[in-house]
């Protein structure tokens, strides 16, 4: 029983306690590390505007505040506001970290956030691909392979023909790999994790192979000029946020739309109802005449297309070429984002932003000498994921049928 007299389970209490402990840890880190540097950090928020944060004072202030939050959390909790409080506290902690890392320097805060949004694209789209298939009852750990395969083929097609064809071929590659996953896991009932794994393996091998055997000897196969950011009129003029959200490439806008569209479709349409049903208890849908296998096929191919589009981001949305293993495990990060976001598109999008932010920070802050080995900064997002998965999510409520082949008879 908590103050409000509502019955809470041991599980919820454990979570709440963990959040409290997390506040204490954040407070300790803030006060012990982030107060160690004296200079102001200057955050540039536009071409002319900027603000400064004094690392030391901000750190102490936040540290004390976090201890207070921890006390409230552990004693009575924040009830319905607890997630908001957690988000705000994390954001403040992050600002404290930045002011410490960039103490005495100035850097483009807006540029970093802009970079974050851009980098979230493949993770978001990969995660949406994951949600689409797992909500339909097929575990998809082959997101990495789909991203990688699509990146490779869209680079080639984009170089040889044009960007449109390149993007289309990338999507097609995602669909093709998803078709392998679909046929093997649905038709031949192979363990879904094993097929997914084999697809990742295959994509890594074949793209490396093609990279050395085809792309290196034929430079004309691998070089294109990627799409440019588009300023959305009016919206881009909104101070601060405008620059971050609305001066981006078409890939970013597409990923925004995809998140919104999938959320709406999952919860407001017939397709969504049926999809959630076959991911949760396919027999119920099957006995009501829903063709479970066909819907699974369709959704998996769709998932492949979405992930393939995410893969095309590398050559067509940013760097203009393909390199061996260019995705560097982003597909696995996308998988983590799916779990992070509890199989909800918006949640996964938030997860993707967090991971993308970690990447962007690493690139910005990596140059500043903070006295902490860079490896530890590089390690941070993985450790955070580990802590979050183990401490706060645990065995979360995944679609129940994910991983189970469906037998029609």
């Amino acid at each position: 029983m908590n103050a409000a007299g509502v019955v809470v389970s041991a599980e919820q209490r454990r979570r709440a306690r963990n959040v409290g402990i997390a506040y204490l840890v954040l407070a300790a880190v803030t006060m012990l590390i982030f107060t160690r540097r004296a200079g102001d950090a200057t955050f540039k928020v536009s071409e002319t505007g900027s603000f400064a944060l004094p690392a030391e004072r901000f750190g102490w202030l936040l540290g004390v505040l976090l201890v207070a939050l921890a006390a409230v959390q552990l004693v009575r909790g924040f009830g319905r506001a607890s997630n908001v409080v957690l988000a705000l506290a994390t954001a403040a902690f992050f600002m404290s970290f930045l002011s410490w890392a960039a103490s005495g320097e100035s850097f483009s805060f807006v540029g970093m956030l802009q970079d974050t949004v851009s980098r979230s694209v493949p993770i978001t789209l990969g995660a949406l691909g994951g949600i689409l298939s797992e909500r339909s009852g097929v575990i998809n750990i082959s997101i990495e392979g789909m991203l990688l395969g699509a990146a490779c083929t869209s680079a080639i097609a984009g170089s040889l023909v044009n960007l449109w064809v390149g993007t289309a071929v990338g999507i097609g590659t995602g669909v093709a790999l998803a078709a392998v996953l679909a046929v093997l896991s649905i038709r031949y009932r192979v363990d879904q994790v094993i097929v997914g794994f084999a697809i990742n393996f295959f994509a890594l091998g074949i793209t490396s192979f093609v990279s050395f055997r085809v792309l290196v000897p034929n430079p004309d196969f691998n070089g294109l000029s990627p799409v440019m950011p588009i300023r959305i009129p009016l919206l881009a003029d909104v101070p601060f946020l405008g620059e971050i959200l609305f001066v981006q490439t078409v890939f970013v806008y597409a990923s925004f739309v995809a998140v919104a569209l999938l959320t709406w479709a999952l919860y407001r349409t017939r397709w969504g109802l049926r999809t959630r049903a076959i991911g949760e208890y396919p027999k119920a849908a099957g006995t009501l005449g829903v063709d479970v296998l066909r819907l699974r096929y369709r959704n998996l191919l769709l998932a492949g297309g979405v992930a393939g589009f995410g893969g095309a981001w590398w050559p067509i949305g940013t760097v203009g070429r393909f390199d061996q293993n260019i995705t560097g495990g982003r597909g696995f990060i996308a998988l983590a984002a799916v779990i992070f976001g509890r199989w909800h598109p918006v949640g996964a999008f938030c997860g993707a932003l967090v991971f993308a932010l970690a990447e962007a920070v690493r690139l910005k802050i990596g140059n500043f000498d903070t006295g902490i080995p860079s490896e530890f900064l590089l390690m941070a997002p993985y450790v955070v994921t580990l802590v979050v998965v183990a401490g706060f999510i645990g065995a979360s409520r995944a679609p129940k049928a994910a991983g189970q082949p469906y037998e029609e008879q």
């Binding site: 109802l273 119920a284 849908a285 009501l288 063709d291």
Partner: protein, 521 residues
């Protein structure tokens, strides 16, 4: 809905690897009547209905609707042809609302492909009111009691305008008074001109509700019976192929000292619900105590708490006077507790391991079978051969995987493992669920034998007949509490049913003729 429709299954044969589930079956179903399909577990009743419902494709034979041959490629075709089915294991998505579950597959659509959930709610309300089913369209299914879930299934069928409704073992989850209410619903359906197929193994129920009875044995229709003239014994003989003992034969119990003492036991779920609520009782040596109750009233959790699989939130459990409340399953096992879990395939056996391995699953660590580190498989095999012979487990080779055994023989493996040791207390949950009559008789006889040898026995079963027949003393659980401690010889089925439903005999008005419903095997 007034015209009569006839559905004819002709010469249906359905084979699975190694078995012929249906062998040249002929069956006629007419709207406006109740056809009962009775047979033992594994006789092929469900397979036949799954063929009718388009879930299985028959290897031979055909379906005729009013004389026209028809082929179903999927349940969608069957639904379109007016067939509805309420499955034994409910086909409901647990985290969906009632309305979402009901409209799934036949969703009312709004604009732009959206789901018109408002209309779905209205549809549920309308049907629910018309048939007095009392359903809240916004309730989430996993939070509903089983009886209500069944009504959700019925609404699903009704909304699809089914002319024939198939109920597969619908009464297994209901209390006797709920069964009466269910029969009322069935009669309403029939009056509305719909046909009902009622699959059951409870003969009393079949005799009560049926217009015609068809008996299935080993995949074949072996005969029909007229419910006005047939007797239970005659139908049972047709089902099994030999005369059947309808009651359990046992002498009066001679209870000794208390073996199991439970005091104030409570179990709380991780989500905060109290599922076993301050339960106290005693089981003495040489007596069988039965626990009756509708599925989901805390019996499962009680058994798990007794066997050490769940932690008790409060209270104590004494075994032979020793406090075992905080002991592990292994320690309780060693202290003389045998446990037959309720789900043999998921909890009782590792079906992919061999029969031998399953026979030592709970005692492989005994000095008899292991030296602490390494296993003595030769000894295990010798013991397994002996148990296979003694407990009549039908297998050519105990080294085969347990999955090769029939349900009854799998259950005998568990019974052999748990009862062949020197035990003080046997806890058996649903000991005969889904098992053929021969095995049921055998297992019941073993349990009585165990009692007569001075073991304390606790039987938990949702089959009221089973506990009534076996128990020397009867406890009834409702919402986690023990609400009655009865003498099964001095109480009627109907009264026990009232306790199961949370009321007391005398409080509620009499529900017709006690003993008429429930029936025996």
């Amino acid at each position: 809905m007034t015209s009569t429709t006839t559905y004819e299954l002709r010469g249906i044969t359905k084979r699975f690897p190694g078995v012929v589930a249906n062998d040249d079956v002929n069956l006629t179903i007419r709207s406006g009547e109740v056809l009962c399909l009775v047979g033992e577990n594994g006789a092929g009743k469900s397979t036949l209905m799954n063929v009718l419902y388009g879930l299985y494709r028959a290897d031979e034979g055909e379906l005729r609707i009013d004389g026209t041959p028809t082929t179903f490629h999927s349940p969608a075709d069957a639904i379109a042809a007016g067939i509805g089915m309420v499955h034994q294991h409910f086909m409901l998505v647990p985290n969906f609302t009632v309305a979402e579950n009901v409209v799934l597959g036949a969703e009312p659509m709004g604009r732009a492909g959206t789901l018109d959930i408002e209309r779905a709610r209205a549809m549920v309300r309308e049907v629910s009111d018309r048939y007095h089913l009392n359903l809240d369209p916004d309730a989430v299914v996993e939070e509903l009691p089983v009886g209500v879930r069944q009504r959700v299934e019925i609404v699903k069928v009704l909304l699809r305008e089914a002319r024939i409704v198939v109920f597969d073992e619908p009464t297994a989850v209901l209390t006797p008074s709920e069964i009466l209410e269910f029969f009322e619903i069935v009669r309403t359906l029939v009056r509305a001109g719909r046909g009902v197929v009622f699959i059951t193994h409870k003969l009393k129920e079949a005799l009560t509700i049926a217009d015609r009875i068809n008996v299935l044995r080993r995949g074949k229709v072996v005969g029909d019976a007229d419910p006005r003239t047939a007797t239970e014994a005659a139908i049972a003989e047709m089902m099994v192929g030999r005369p059947v003992q309808l009651t359990v034969e046992k002498k009066a119990a001679a209870p000794g000292a208390a073996v199991l003492e439970v005091r104030g036991l409570s179990v709380v779920e991780p989500d905060g619900r109290t599922v076993v609520d301050d339960v106290s009782f005693v089981v003495r040596a040489g007596e069988i105590v039965g626990v009756a109750g509708v599925q989901g009233n805390g019996q499962t959790e009680l058994v798990e708490a007794l066997s050490g699989l769940r932690r008790a939130a409060s209270g104590t459990i004494l075994l032979d006077g020793r406090d075992v409340t905080h002991e592990s399953p292994r320690e309780r096992h060693a202290a003389g507790m045998g446990h037959v879990p309720e789900d043999r395939q998921r909890q009782g056996l590792v079906v992919d391991l061999s029969i031998t391995e399953n026979l030592v699953l709970t005692r492989y660590h005994d000095a008899q079978f292991s030296s602490g580190i390494s296993m003595r498989w030769d000894d295990a095999r010798a013991v397994a051969r002996d148990l296979v012979a003694r407990y009549d487990i039908r297998t050519p080779d105990p080294e085969q995987a347990a999955t090769t055994l029939s349900g009854g023989n799998q259950q005998k493996v568990i019974v052999a493992r748990e009862l062949s040791r020197d035990i003080r207390l046997a806890v058996a949950a649903q000991p005969t669920r889904g098992v053929d009559v021969g095995s049921i008789e055998y297992i019941h006889a073993r349990i009585v034998e165990e009692r007569d040898a001075g073991t304390a026995v606790l039987i938990v079963s949702t089959e009221l007949d089973e506990v009534m027949a076996l128990a020397d003393r009867l406890l009834v659980m409702y919402r986690g509490r023990v609400v009655a401690d009865l003498d099964p010889r001095a109480v009627s089925h109907m009264d026990v049913g009232l306790y199961m439903a949370g009321s007391r005999p005398g409080e509620a008005s009499g529900h017709g003729d006690p003993g008429r419903v429930g029936g025996a095997r």
